[in-house]
């Protein structure tokens, strides 16, 4: 037996796919799993919480979601992706000005996205949309059985505290206002406090559930008062909103750092057209982050 004959002579294997790119694709595969896990989890939770009933999910008005902001952000990201593609092409053809312009514009647009996102977060906080401290009474009162109501009431003390503080601040800051909205605000505040009337009668403060219902009623009349609404499954909604957009924003931030490095290298002449790996990977990553946003955008802003 000639054992050697069993073995073909070695061929020098030249990898067809450069390592840096392969690794980036692998990394993106892990990212796909990360976001799939997250989205699948959210989907399951939402289905479980609402049972498919849209009344059990906060509306866009209630959560102060502004689709036009989301659309603007989407456009920003898509254009920034195009900028990066442009920058890469420019780099390949040796057009260093174009490269710098592409990366620069991409960076600016990405930062603008984060800026808008930050403003949206602030707006949410301003409206009391903080996970774990949102009141959860009732749109139309269905399916919330008595046991759940009991539990809700205990869970809503946080909301109640925030609500009281907010109103107190409002009343305190507007000493001269006497309009009907102020009257309503003061009455609401009084009904949240434990205490005695001028004539000495004891008033029972509203229970958290009553207060939540009252808050929704007041908001219908005076939407401008700093009253936090009670939202069905509001806490779950807020958990999704902040976690999904937060993780996405973190990725975006990392992408901005990569773009900044590309930009600096381009300016200092450290981006040789022969070695495109870093710039290409940056663009690839950025496109991926955009793609994720294209999934998140309809989920958060349109549905």
């Amino acid at each position: 037996m000639n054992a050697l004959a069993d073995y073909p002579s070695p061929t020098l294997e030249v990898p067809t796919f450069p390592s840096a790119k392969l690794a980036m694709w692998l990394f993106l595969a892990t990212e796909v799993m990360l976001f799939s896990g997250l989205l699948a989890g959210c989907y399951v939770l939402k289905a479980g919480a609402t049972g498919g009933n849209p009344n059990l999910w906060p509306t866009r008005e209630q959560t102060h979601i502004q689709p036009w902001l989301g659309t603007l952000n989407t456009i920003l990201l898509v254009v920034s992706s195009l900028c990066l593609s442009f920058a890469l092409n420019a780099l390949k053809s040796g057009n260093i000005k174009g490269t710098m312009g592409g990366f620069g514009l991409g960076f600016v647009l990405g930062s603008a996205f984060l800026g808008i996102k930050a403003w949206e977060y602030r707006d949410k906080f301003h409206h009391g949309l903080i996970p774990g401290s949102i009141a959860e009474a009732i749109n139309n009162n269905q399916t919330h059985d008595s046991k759940r109501m009991q539990m809700l009431s205990s869970g809503q003390r946080v909301w109640l505290d925030l609500q009281r503080g907010q109103l107190e601040k409002y009343v305190h800051d507007h000493p001269n206002q006497q309009g009907p909205d102020m009257v309503a605000a003061k009455a609401f505040l009084a009904s949240l406090r434990d205490g005695k009337k001028a004539n000495g009668d004891y008033i029972r403060p509203l229970s958290p559930v009553e207060a939540a219902q009252e808050a929704n009623r007041i908001l219908e009349k005076y939407p401008d008062l700093p009253v936090y609404p009670a939202l069905p499954n509001g806490n779950l909604w807020a958990s999704f909103y902040f976690t999904l957009t937060g993780i996405h924003a973190t990725h975006l931030f990392a992408g901005l750092i990569l773009i900044a490095i590309c930009l600096i290298r381009a300016i200092s002449g450290g981006l040789p057209p022969e070695n495109l790996d870093f710039a290409e990977n940056t663009a690839l990553y950025w496109h991926f982050v955009d793609l994720v946003w294209l999934f998140l955008f309809p989920l958060i802003y349109l549905i």
């Binding site: 008595s146 046991k147 009991q150 539990m151 205990s154």
Partner: protein
């Protein structure tokens, strides 16, 4: 010296096997399956023995070959190793053989699993205003909390609004006691398991019954006891052990905090419905004066705990 290693492997494996055999052959040691007292327990035990049989065969065969090889093929043995790279026939054979064994086990498992778990999933009993699962003789609501079990027994027929209403609000006359599960032999028992805080797991070894309680969910479970271990003695006003002298316990099988091991309860299987009813009636009269509010999650539990009788 090389024989030594073969013997070591043989000795260790045989010791392991021997331990199993001894534990099985001497029930007095209390090292084997505990009493089995439900239909499900008997089926699970048979399945256990079936798997044990197949595994024992596989174990003896593979370890035997290993030990024999160590004995027969040390480097000091004459001759030289054979230059074999593989054998497709063998590969196919030993892929199919375990597959067959495993399929046998699966086939045997399916009906038992179905019997134990499929009923009431998704729990029809809890949807809408369904009354009892039609076949149940007894419904018991088990609420776990750190760190005991609260069992709610209906003393009258369940409300018309259905079992769901009963589970969350209940009748004023319901009996709520801690850590005692009373059923009677042959009763088709339907348990509803829930928890107010963390995950626990309702484990009754004698019934081979185990089910986690899941926060936010009510999980139905069924069993039928086949052996009784107590009867109610009206003269003494308490349950007394019968001739089996068996004492069956309830445990928690899912980590639920520092006192996880403390969630000990007892299972009392009455010989018949009469004994059970007598016990129920007696216990209820004992606790009638106390206001038994429905078991609200945060209601103080002190009055409910005392309902137990021992």
């Amino acid at each position: 010296m090389h024989r030594f290693w073969s013997l070591l492997f043989a000795a260790v494996n045989m010791a392991c096997l021997a331990l199993l055999v001894v534990a099985y052959a001497y029930p007095g040691l209390g090292w084997w399956l505990p009493d089995s007292a439900s239909t499900q327990a008997n089926e699970i035990d048979s399945l256990f023995y079936l798997i044990t049989g197949l595994c024992a065969f596989f174990f003896v065969a593979t370890q035997g070959i290993l030990i024999y090889s160590l004995w027969r093929f040390p480097s000091t043995a004459p001759g030289s190793p054979s230059p074999i790279h593989g054998h497709p026939g063998l590969e196919i054979g030993w892929t199919i053989a375990p597959l067959v064994g495993l399929l046998v086990i699966t086939a045997a498992s399916l009906p038992v699993w179905k019997e134990a778990r499929y009923q009431g999933f998704p729990p029809p009993a809890l949807e809408g205003t369904n009354p009892l699962p039609p076949e149940a003789d007894q419904v018991i609501l088990v609420t776990a909390r750190q760190w005991d079990w609260h069992l709610k027994y209906a003393t009258e027929s369940l409300p018309a609004e259905g079992i769901r209403q009963w589970a969350s609000v209940g009748n004023p006359s319901d009996l709520i006691i801690a850590n005692e599960l009373h059923v009677w032999k042959g009763a088709k028992v339907s348990l509803l398991l829930r928890t107010t805080d963390v995950i626990h797991s309702f484990f009754v070894p004698a019934l081979r019954l185990k089910q986690d309680t899941l926060p936010g969910k009510t999980i139905p479970m069924r069993f039928e006891a086949t052996v009784s271990n107590v009867r109610f003695d009206p003269a003494e006003g308490r349950v007394v052990p019968n001739e089996t002298k068996a004492s069956w316990e309830i445990a928690c099988a899912e980590l639920c905090g520092g006192n996880h091991f403390r969630m000990r309860g007892k299972l009392f299987v009455h010989p018949d419905r009469k004994s059970y009813d007598a016990w129920l009636d007696h216990s209820r009269r004992q606790t009638r004066s106390r206001s038994l509010t429905a078991m609200l999650p945060n209601a103080s539990s002190s009055n409910q705990k005392e309902g137990a009788l021992q």
